[in-house]
């Protein structure tokens, strides 16, 4: 149930390590994000005098949402098929709930950065939602179910010849993933340069335990998208049974798949530049149209 929050910082560390490698740096250890979180939890906090309860409350809600979503998606086993929360629309809108509060907390302190960050974030989030829903919808037509576990199971049983729409939807999903998790070409997760930042601008005023929660939630969200990408579009290796051997094997395959995607994101991030903000909608509409094509192929 808490696998996603536990593993999430690791993959953040891996991305950073690979990026450092591309930049001819040695880079911090891949376990660095864990230590960062630990450090932040042990620091005092400074909160703006203008902040209202929204600012205080948002980190808890944002983190809670990632925990719930992390527990309701297929990871390495279809055994925990949690029928009530695994509907993909529920997942999409729960993530929207966390985005909503993140944007509000950016506005709450009344700094110029936070406001612009929120405005950009909501612009991107609004345009991403179409592609997000459509890429998962394409799969749910294959599976005749909007349940993520059923999607996983039925894509796994697909013959390779029918895989064209899945690939189209996957490309769309990758674009959505980059946008939702604040990666290149949408956002630069490593900068505090005012012209380019989106996610970092909103959380500028956070410190201490609340910053830790937000950073942890962001890392978890990244892992959630990685696992969705790995398990919905390439769902081989999920175990149906409970048994020590099969679980270890399935977990291994899961980690391997996610690792491959992580490396892909890190390489992508090191090899392309950030897009101009007003070119991003084109990319998001491409995601939307690709998934619409996928749906057309399936029907």
């Amino acid at each position: 149930m808490i696998l996603v929050p536990v593993l999430a910082p690791l993959f953040l560390g891996i991305v950073r390590k690979i990026k450092a490698h591309f930049q001819k740096r040695k880079g911090a250890s891949i376990f660095r994000p864990y230590r960062d979180l630990w450090k932040l939890f042990h620091k005092d906090e400074v909160i703006s005098e203008y902040a209202s309860w929204i600012f205080h409350f948002a980190p808890y809600l944002i983190f809670a949402v990632t925990v719930i979503v992390g527990a309701s998606i297929p990871l390495f086993s279809t055994y925990f098929a949690n029928n009530l929360l695994s509907d993909f629309l529920v997942i999409v809108y729960l993530i929207a709930l966390s985005t909503f509060f993140l944007a509000l907390s950016g506005l709450d302190v009344g700094s110029a950065f936070g406001g612009f960050g929120s405005s950009r974030e909501m612009t991107l989030a609004a345009l991403t939602e179409g592609g997000f829903i459509f890429s998962l919808l394409a799969l749910s037509f294959l599976a005749h179910s909007t349940n993520l576990f059923s999607i996983s199971a039925s894509v796994a049983s697909l013959s390779l010849l029918d895989f064209t729409p899945v690939i189209l939807a996957f490309v769309a999903f990758v674009i959505v993933m980059l946008s939702e998790t604040a990666h290149f070409p949408f956002d630069n997760p490593a900068t505090h340069l005012e012209l380019t930042m989106v996610h970092e601008a909103m959380i500028l005023e956070y410190s201490g335990k609340r910053l830790a929660l937000i950073e942890w939630a962001a890392a978890s969200k990244f892992l959630i998208f990685l696992s969705l990408g790995a398990n919905l579009f390439f769902p081989w290796g999920l175990t149906m049974r409970l048994g020590l051997g099969t679980i270890v094997l399935a977990l291994g395959i899961f980690l391997l798949k996610v690792l491959v995607l992580t490396i892909f994101v890190a390489v992508l991030e090191s090899s392309i530049a950030k897009f101009r903000f007003f070119r991003l909608p084109d990319l998001l509409f491409i995601a939307f149209i690709l998934s619409a094509m996928a749906i057309g192929l399936i029907l």
Partner: protein, 681 residues
């Protein structure tokens, strides 16, 4: 109690209360306070008995019809209180109840400024008009009460008549609503021509006599007529100016319920009386739904007037309702009644939901306006500290309207999604693509609505005050808080127990004659909703519980982990300068990037004016002015050409009317000759 008071009795009691309320308000108009208490108090009583009647009809199957025969031909006062009507009476009475409670406190700032007697009079008449519209069962009777509703709301729009703008707005509303009524009359006359009756029941029985062409004509006329009332694009132009002009509790009623009477009649005619046989009807309604929802939310984003923003968002939500209704019509035409049930329930559920959260948001905005004396969001900011309860309830409304779980908006959008998904799978190729587009429209609408309400809530209530007025404001009085608070609670309850609500709505739909044989394709539990094909299942109470438990656990864990850590309060990082209110993001700035992205549709314009200290040198500007505008596309391409056409035709007609009496006598003579000739031949 059950048998003591019948639904019928309590419905007429409700109307009686409204009549007394209207008359009494006029009697007491000299005394502001008494008129206020009388007008709103009786409206509260009336709403309660209306609620009681609707509940009895919905839960204890106490439907009734009642007729008073008038001496005039074709006109008879027939009431039909079936479950569909009862559902709308429920929605109207529920919102009216809370709007009246809110009104008790809200209208106090009209004391000594405006005549509260007339307000109470038109308010009660308006409520009675709405109740009668959804229960009338005779076309003539219907048109009379429809007109009563429209006129009463017109007088409420121009109630604050000291502001010139409102009079102009009122005239636009007056014209548009009557153009709509003209089409409605045409539709009913066409029905009369083929069926020989104005009675809805008889029309329904003889609908087989209506030829296809006539049916299509009726469809178009009714769609324009009732669509104009519902605010569909492009007949929406009156809505964003008329709704904000009225006093807030009336705006809440107009946006929350009055526009739904248009939806009710669309349902009554196309589902009940003249069930859709043509595929293109549903397709057209789907297309209108897409346009209204997407454009509605985009225009809402461009607004910085909080009430206008909410009014545009009503257009968006009408669009979402039409997506549900349109899919129901398509399924009906394809003879897939089970799926049509799903679409119709989605539409009804969203009707109920929109009524609750839109009334909540309007009334929340009204509380803010009454304290800050402006509708311009740029002058708000930081209100959460001055009006904490209003802010909290407004936040709940914003979350519900952005379709965020676990609130009610999420469930009805989820159902609409499911209806559209089934449409993609079940309908043929061409129609299937319409459904795909509809899903796309709904998905983008959801995202944009969230952006819109982050703006509405964030810019108004968060950050630092942008004007002195904000710093003077304080929490509103109890009756306002109760009105808003109960609605906020309702959005949560309707969300968490959406399964049970869906079950009641299933009862409403299967009560309609065309759906009695429909098989069920979904099951509802106390808290969950499941499509029987196994395609999807959702449980909002589960989401709610999960959120509560996980939030609690995290809060506790973090508390234990960090209990020794201090929390300091400091200033926001200001880059070394003093943070002024002008350094925060504005409402205009917040949505500017979305406007730029959709500039092809919205056609924003920017006009800069610089005045220099020395006109020849042009180095030192004295003052700068920037004017940002959104082009009125409908005015430019639709209404102005239409108006020009009317004027042109009028000038032609003027040639005949030359004012010469002899000419007129000649006209009569020639007409007579021609008629006689026709008679002979």
């Amino acid at each position: 109690m059950d048998n003591l008071i019948s639904a019928q009795f309590s419905f007429f009691i409700s109307l009686l209360f409204l009549a007394i309320g209207a008359a009494g308000s006029l009697v007491f108009m000299k005394n502001d306070k008494l008129a206020n208490w009388w007008g709103n108090g009786l409206a509260i009583l009336a709403s309660m008995s209306g609620l009681f009647a609707a509940t009895k009809a919905l839960f204890f199957a106490e439907e009734f019809t009642y007729a008073v025969n008038a001496t005039l031909p074709n006109l008879s006062f027939v009431f039909n209180f079936d479950k569909l009507a009862a559902f709308f009476v429920l929605v109207i009475s529920f919102v009216a109840l809370l709007a009246s409670v809110y009104g008790l406190g809200y209208v106090k700032h009209f004391y000594k400024k405006y005549n509260l007697g007339t307000l109470g009079f038109f308010y009660n008449i308006f409520l009675a008009g709405m109740l009668l519209v959804v229960s009338a069962h005779n076309a003539f009777f219907f048109l009379i009460v429809w007109e009563i509703m429209s006129l009463a709301s017109y007088f409420l729009v121009i109630f604050e008549n000291k502001e010139k703008e409102n009079i102009k707005t009122g005239s636009l509303y007056f014209v548009m609503t009557h153009v709509g009524t003209a089409f409605i009359i045409l539709a009913f006359l066409l029905l009369y021509q083929s069926t020989g009756s104005f009675d809805f029941g008889i029309i329904k029985e003889n609908i087989g006599n209506v030829s296809l062409l006539t049916k299509n004509l009726i469809f178009v006329c009714a769609l324009i007529g009732f669509g104009a009332k519902a605010g569909i694009i492009p007949f929406h132009i009156w809505l964003p100016s008329a709704h904000p002009a009225a006093p807030t509790h009336v705006s809440a009623l107009m946006s929350g319920v009055m526009i739904k009477t248009g939806i009710y009649m669309l349902m009554r005619i196309f589902i009940d009386m003249m069930p859709a046989t043509e595929l293109w009807w549903g397709v057209l309604i789907l297309v209108i739904g897409m346009l209204s929802s997407l454009l509605g939310v985009l225009y809402a984003l461009t607004e910085s007037d909080i009430k206008k923003l909410l009014a545009y968002s009503s257009i968006e939500n009408i669009g979402i309702i039409l997506l549900g209704l349109g899919s129901a019509l398509v399924f009906l035409a394809l003879n897939m009644k089970a799926l049509a049930t799903l679409g119709l329930i989605a539409a009804l559920f969203h009707t109920l939901n929109h009524a609750t959260f839109k009334a909540l948001l309007f009334m929340g905005a009204g509380s803010v306006i009454s304290k800050t004396h402006t509708r311009n969001m740029e002058e708000y900011g930081g209100l959460i500290k001055y009006m904490p309860q209003t802010a909290f309830f407004f936040l709940i409304g914003s979350m519900a309207i952005s379709a965020l779980p676990p609130f009610n908006g999420f469930f009805s959008e989820w159902m609409t999604f499911q209806a559209l998904f089934s449409g993609i799978q079940a309908a043929g190729h061409f129609v299937g693509w319409i459904f795909i587009l509809a899903v796309g429209a709904l998905a983008f609408t959801g995202g944009l609505a969230a952006a819109c309400f982050v703006k509405a809530f964030g810019v108004s209530f968060l950050a630092r005050p942008r004007s002195e007025e904000v710093k003077q404001s304080k929490e509103s009085e109890l009756s306002l808080i109760i009105g808003i608070g109960v609605l906020a609670l309702a959005t949560l309850i309707l969300g968490v127990f959406s399964g049970s609500v869906a079950k009641i709505l299933t009862g409403v739909v299967s009560n309609l004659q065309n759906f009695q044989s429909a098989e069920k394709i979904f099951s509802t539990g106390a808290s969950l909703f499941k499509l029987q094909s196994g395609f999807a299942v959702v449980s909002l109470s589960m989401i709610f519980a999960a959120l509560l438990v996980v939030l609690g656990a995290i809060y506790f864990a973090v508390f234990i982990l960090t209990k020794n850590r201090k929390v300091k309060v400091g200033a926001t990082w200001d880059c070394g300068t003093n943070l002024g209110p002008r350094m925060e993001i504005t409402a205009t700035g917040f949505s500017r990037s979305i406007i730029t992205i959709f500039r092809g549709i919205l056609k924003p314009s920017k006009q800069t004016d610089v005045e220099y200290r020395d006109a020849d040198m042009r180095y030192f500007p004295k003052n700068n002015m920037i004017k940002l505008e959104i082009k009125d596309v409908y005015g430019a391409y639709f209404y102005q050409p239409a108006q020009k056409l009317v004027v042109k035709i009028s000038t032609w007609v003027k040639a005949i009317q030359n004012g010469n009496l002899n000419a007129y006598v000649a006209y009569i003579f020639f007409t007579l000759v021609i008629l006689l000739l026709i008679l002979v031949i």
